[in-house]
């Protein structure tokens, strides 16, 4: 039997992710480059995943692009919205998933998935970076810490403080005010996480939250945000090591489905 290789490319606003699937089941390689649409990121991600999978472009049977920069990938056979791809990727990893919270670099989405894993409806944030990965980056910069440190530092928090959930610019100003008052950074970080949870929680409640809830996207790596969201929504939230690759995974699955048809 000839193996079928499909590639999913998720070109986000701040990162480029690539994933190759063998026969629609086995992940043979994945790559992530920390720049997204309009940069060399997609090309580098493609080369990287081909190299780690020991494959050539010609070995791929179908390439599906997704994400904000999905239209820019010339080698793609077709493209799909990242919403449909995240639904498919999450269903592949968690067959009982019904609600997906995807927080990416510049947007946040809440998706509902049907019994068959297909996207049923969704809600997206408006043109505002509050409650997104960019929000975390801006806050980390103001606090002079790395984004990766935010989760562990928030666990050391002892006091609840409130940070605005309405606007990144206002929130940054509040963070600076708190720093000027010598508020513990760990408390500020937990406040930032709760701020994101409040914003995304409101988005999730628009269409309702149905178990199982899965979190995808780069922000899912921050367990502080995940736990704040669990508290906000009152639901257990699952995630996986593939959270950031979930869109690319969904694209690769759709690519396989195209071939199967």
């Amino acid at each position: 039997m000839i193996d079928i290789y499909t590639m999913g490319i998720d070109v986000g606003s701040t990162t480029s992710k690539c994933l190759i699937l063998k026969n629609g089941k086995e992940i043979t390689g994945k790559s992530l480059v920390g720049v997204g649409a309009g940069t060399s990121g997609p090309e580098r991600a493609i080369q990287s995943v081909l190299s780690s999978s020991k494959l050539e472009l010609e070995d791929l049977d179908y390439i599906m692009s997704t994400g904000y920069g999905r239209h820019t990938i010339e080698i793609a056979d077709s493209e799909m919205s990242e919403l449909s791809c995240h639904a498919r990727g999450a269903y592949f990893q968690f067959p009982n998933v019904r609600t997906i919270i995807d927080i990416g670099g510049q947007d946040a989405k809440v998706l509902h998935v049907g019994d068959d894993g297909m996207l049923v409806n969704f809600a997206m944030n408006d043109k505002c970076s509050a409650g997104t990965g960019r929000f975390l980056e801006v806050m980390a910069r103001a606090l002079e810490v790395n984004v990766e440190e935010l989760a562990s530092m928030s666990q050391l928090s002892k006091n609840n403080i409130t940070i605005s959930s309405t606007c990144t610019v206002f929130a940054e100003s509040e963070v600076i005010s708190q720093l000027a008052k010598n508020t513990d950074r760990c408390d500020i970080i937990k406040g930032i996480h709760r701020s994101i949870a409040s914003r995304v929680g409101a988005l999730a409640r628009r269409n309702g939250v149905i178990d199982d809830v899965v979190m995808t996207g780069g922000v899912a790596k921050n367990r502080g945000v995940l736990h704040a969201l669990e508290e906000e929504l009152g639901h257990k939230i699952y995630t996986s090591e593939l959270a950031q690759y979930n869109g690319a995974l969904g694209a690769a699955l759709f690519a396989y489905q195209k071939l199967s048809r």
């Binding site: 919205s81 990242e82 919403l83 297909m118 049923v120 969704f122 997206m124």
Partner: protein
Amino acid sequence: MTDIEILLAQFEEIANNPKKQLEQYISEGKKVIGCYPYYVPEELIYAAGMIPMGLWGKRGNPNKAKEYFAPFYCSLVQMNLEMALNGDLQKLSGVVHTTLCDTLRPSSQNFRVAMDKIPMIFLAHPQNRKPEFGVEYTMAIYSKMLNQLEEIVGRKVSAGDIKEAIKVYNENRQAKREFVKNAGMHPELISAVQRSAVLKSSYFMEKHLHTTMLNELNKMLQASPIEEWHGTRVVTSGIICDNPSFLKILDDNRIAIAADDVAHESRSFRKDAPYNEDPIRSLAVQFADQDQDTILYDPSLNSRPSHIIDLVKNSNAQGVIVLMMTFCDPEEMEYPSLYNALKEAKIPCLKIGYNHQITDFGQARTSLQAFAEVLSMKN
């Protein structure tokens, strides 16, 4: 190019160049009156021998108008004043300023202060439009508007002139309703961009000429065989949806507009003026008969959602796209009841923020593509 494409190109040329139309009218010695949204009885302007032109803002960012408005103000209204302050409206002989919402009402006073050289006709429609006292009030304000128009044009307007104008406008409304149906049945021939241009051009044309062109287009569309549509069909709802960049996303994703509940489009030509010996009463009754609009008082609260559900069913659409005008209180306040009604009727709904200032519809593109994918998967 086919005959249909030639006609569509003519409509697009007019819709995209209102300034050229205005210059042409002025060079022909005609007087032009600008009309704010909406329910202006344009028939009175037409009867006075002048040209009514719609003022629905334009794409771009307000600069000078910022002096008069808070940032959280409807972009349509801001851009109307911006056009006036930039001199784009200086050749108008007057402007009819409506006051049907809490944004238009203060804007009318700002316009009066900012543009004292352009005569402004203040048109305060009643919310209680249906009882006899409401109809009489509407007749009174329409009569006052007529007097002001007569002053501008320098002659009296007869009842016969108004009756003739009503006939012309009723014919135009009929042609537009017919076109909306035809466009919904022939999405392969009429793109969302073209559909918008055909309807928008009406705001800048003499109505009898628009009707003549539109009847010709309707005839050609009716003679065209109905082809299977390999895409999805939606009903659009909102104040305005005329940005070609946005509409092209619908076309790119094969989302056809099967029908609409858009103020700039179908809401403005749903009702004809019924015959009455007194033509001013005809126009007042026409306004009294208007319904299912966020800016009109609706004691039942539910007629608009039911109307939109009927539109979806009757036009064989699969979902609704709500173009939510930024900072539009009436539309925002009615959205929850519309959302709940659509949810109950199991009709998928997508809400997208819309205003004249948006230049990048990247996020809307993702939402629309995903919505099309959801609708396709439901089939």
